[in-house]
């Protein structure tokens, strides 16, 4: 035990005494490791960003019906029950789905598209509450900007129709419960409860909406059906099957199938290219690190022989270069991480904006850093043991005299 404590102390003293040489080894290691980390960070960042874009962006999971059809509540419910469907909500006729919005702050009246929404709507994301009644609305960022309002403001919604030869307009006080993210849609959209959308259609069709006190013809009996719907698959991997199933039912739909396939194939190809580069790089890294550490042990032969002359056991002597290699491995890794982080910052905050990319191009997870450390320490220990065993195997006398 005394020997091990002494070896730890001696190896550290020698390492810090020779700080210039140690610094060179650390630099040499970092200069090979840092580019590898940047390369991996880029590969991981670019592919992950593309995948995340695809997975996270609901537009890529949206399946849009082409033309108009007739979908009743039962059909909608059946789809909603499917495992691979994340969200589905009916749409009314496009012409009926507009509302005029007016705020106290903006002078102009904004004609806005009405979209039905409900809890779990991927367009609203997890952070926003869906409108719960006729009087609540979530505005798209563009609409909120034009109306110069923020969440919590009250606005006036109005609908107009020609009814029995007269032009009529009804007003509805609306509370903006939140404003959607600008990425959701560039259009002017008011996300409302399905009931308001249906009420709007009824009103425009000349029918009465007693709940809101809007007069008109009484409602006709019969099952309600919708011309269209808004449908999102649970993941991009479910899109293709859903599309196939819907088309089998005779529903003509459109989805970003080609784009999904492209990204998946880019991921595969990039991975192959990356792994070839990474393997060659790792091999070069192992050899360069191994050779420099091995050479260092050789340089230490005389000092190691003196330690053996004083009475250190051969086995303990191996610990000396192994520990020093571990110091180099750790410090080199630390420096490489710092270099990597500087480049990551430059790539993500200086380069990416010039390429009009608002996502991170280069990033690594904590486990990637730990993997790099583990690999570096392992190679370092392996190289040092090889060199150390050689130093321990020669007779101390030879080590003392051959320099």
């Amino acid at each position: 035990m005394a020997q091990i404590t002494n070896i730890v102390r001696l190896s550290f003293r020698d390492y810090s005494h020779e700080w210039r040489m140690s610094g060179c080894f650390v630099l040499a290691l970092a200069s090979v490791l840092a580019p590898m980390m940047i390369l991996f960070g880029l590969k991981f960042g670019v592919v992950s960003t593309m995948i995340a874009d695809l997975v996270e962006n609901p537009i890529n999971r949206e399946i849009r019906p082409i033309g108009s059809g007739s979908y009743d509540d039962a059909w909608i419910e059946r789809l909603r029950a499917r495992e691979d469907v994340e969200f589905i909500i009916p749409k009314t006729r496009a012409l009926a789905a507009t509302i005029q919005l007016k705020s106290d702050t903006a002078r102009r009246i904004l004609s806005t598209e009405l979209l039905a929404t409900a809890a779990g709507d991927p367009l609203l994301g997890s952070g926003l509450r869906a409108p719960a009644n006729y009087y609540e609305v979530v505005l798209s960022a563009s609409a909120a900007k034009r109306l110069e309002i923020t969440a919590g403001d009250r606005i006036d919604g109005s609908l107009a129709r020609q009814f029995r030869g007269k032009r009529e307009r009804v007003h509805l006080p609306l509370t903006v419960i939140s404003v959607a993210d600008p990425g959701v849609t560039p259009r002017n959209v008011a996300f409302v409860h399905l009931d308001l959308l249906i009420a709007s259609e009824h009103f425009k069709d000349g029918r009465a909406v007693p709940e809101l006190g809007w007069s008109g013809n009484s409602a006709t009996a019969g099952a309600r059906s919708f011309p269209s719907f808004r449908l999102y698959a649970r993941s991009i991997y479910d899109v293709t099957r859903l599309v196939e199933d819907l088309e089998r039912e005779g529903v003509r739909v459109k989805a970003n199938v080609a784009e999904i396939d492209t990204v998946q194939s880019i991921d595969r190809n990039l991975s192959v290219i990356f792994w070839i580069i990474a393997c060659v790089g790792a091999l070069g890294f192992s050899f360069s690190l191994g050779a420099s550490l091995w050479a260092n042990v050789d340089r230490k032969r005389k000092d190691l022989s003196i330690l053996r002359l004083i009475g250190f056991k051969s086995g303990r002597i191996v610990l000396f270069p192994v520990l020093q290699s571990c110091y180099t491995a750790f410090l080199g890794w630390l420096l490489a991480v710092l270099i990597y982080l500087v480049f990551e910052h430059l790539i993500n905050h200086v380069l990416a904006p010039t390429l009009n990319i608002d996502r991170k191009l280069c990033f690594l997870l904590t486990e990637h850093f730990l993997w790099a450390l583990g690999l570096t320490v392992l190679i370092a220990i392996y190289a040092a043991i090889l060199g150390g065993l050689r130093a321990a195997r020669i007779q101390p006398s030879d080590g003392l005299r051959d320099v």
Partner: protein
Amino acid sequence: MSIIYTLRNVVKERLNDGVGFRLCVPKIEIRAQENIALIGHSGCGKSTLLDMLALILRPDDSEDFNLHPIDGDNSDVADMWQRNRQGPLSQIRKRHIGYVLQSGGLLPYLTVRENIELPRRLLNLPDDDSIESISKVLGIQRQLDKLPGYLSVGERSRAAFARALSHRPSILIADEPTATLDPITTQKIMAVVMEVIKGLKITLITASHDWHHVYKMDLRTLNQVAEPVDDGKIYQSTFCD
């Protein structure tokens, strides 16, 4: 006095394609507290013999190679080398032998004090005033906190003696310890060393090509002859009592 080293027909060769050097020791017995000098010109095998006596060089052949330190058990060194038992060999080195290298052999990254302390630390010896007292006797007490690089050659030589003696070994082996020093300094250092080893009842085995001071210090010299053998292919050096 008891015999501590017994060597019979010990051979060490450094041959390349049958050409080179051979050291032969037909018979040497060294008694406790004897002071031995290996005298001979450069390349006659003094260092090789010292290294074998210090258990850091394996003999190629030996009929008998025993070491029986006065404060330890008898060890069959030939057998230990034969069976490559590095552990016990390093144990004997650590406990019983102090070695002064020609170059000093101080570790450059430790202060003089830490260098001198190292053998004691290895043996878990207590921190007493032995470092101070040996340094004072050797005249290096003011250099204790310096790195060896800042010492003069003479001071390094004294520090090397201090390290070799700090753990009170029973055998001190010194390989031309004063080779790089001027005669006056050599005489001063060796006089002090001789005093210390007498006081501590240590057996000194030293090599030197400086005939003059060896005779003055009253050391027993081993006989050495060197001659070419095997048609001049091998230069053979023989040491014996």
